[in-house]
């Protein structure tokens, strides 16, 4: 199994809603990532978890709250988002957080109204 599974595939939410994005991998990888991607732009790193601990937070606003319940799961909790937060949110995993390749999920297309 070489897949990173993300749910939901699409999400529309209002600025007062609370929602969560979910990511799962069963490759035994110990590093997991959240990226944000705007149209025709490269992915931008948001958070890195290494061995279930948050190791990198790229100065992301607190309305985005990551959680790593165990080594296979990664969540991104969303609250009071702004329309400019609309983007494709990508989860990725790698063996460790050093020089291995990343495996990406298909992403969640988020629209904030």
């Amino acid at each position: 199994d070489t897949e990173v599974t993300q749910t939901p595939k699409h999400l529309v939410m209002g600025m007062t809603n609370k929602k969560s994005l979910k990511c799962e991998q069963h490759m035994g990888h110990r590093a997991m990532y959240w990226y944000k991607q705007k149209a025709k732009k490269p992915p931008e790193l948001m958070f890195v978890y290494s061995y279930e601990k948050l190791s990198i937070n790229e100065s992301v606003p607190s309305r985005f709250s990551p959680e790593c319940p165990n080594s296979s799961l990664l969540n991104l909790h969303l609250h009071a988002l702004q329309p400019e937060d609309s983007a494709l949110y990508l989860c990725a995993s790698s063996q460790t957080a050093t020089n291995e390749k990343l495996f990406f999920g298909s992403g969640t297309q988020l629209s904030v109204l």
């Binding site: 990173v4 993300q6 025709k40 732009k41 490269p42 992915p43 790193l45 890195v48 990198i56 494709l88 990508l90 990725a92 957080a97 050093t98 020089n99 291995e100 390749k101 990343l102 495996f103 990406f104 999920g105 298909s106 992403g107 297309q109």
Partner: protein, 110 residues
């Protein structure tokens, strides 16, 4: 500061017309140069990792090469299904963060 620059931004080819995509990088202590393919609305799909100058890797119509300053993705006799955005990324020894280029949007017409 680590940096990755890709050119051209967009490339339109006829089916069978071979070409190359360029990725220039400046990184402290290269720990890997990565090529990904991304289709619209999907996550990037891993293609190649290169670690040292002179290294080459091939997969079907794609061949990736690496020098001390650049990487090239050569596409031989492309087909319409090769149409996608190709992303280059580097990882150095300063924090290990993956640095992406802006991508090259490839369109192959039949």
């Amino acid at each position: 500061e680590d940096q990755v620059t890709q050119s051209p931004e967009a490339l339109r080819l006829q089916e069978g017309e071979s070409s190359s995509l360029n990725c220039s990088y400046t990184v402290s202590g290269l720990r890997g140069l990565f090529w990904y393919r991304q289709d619209p609305g999907k996550g990037p799909e891993f293609l190649f990792t290169l670690y040292s100058a002179g290294e080459e890797k091939e997969k079907e119509r794609l061949k990736a090469t690496l020098t001390k300053k650049e990487s090239f993705l050569h596409i031989t006799a492309p087909k319409p299904e090769d149409s996608a955005t190709y992303l280059c990324a580097s990882r150095g020894d300063q924090g290990g963060k993956l640095i992406f280029g802006q991508g090259t949007e490839l369109s192959v017409k039949p």
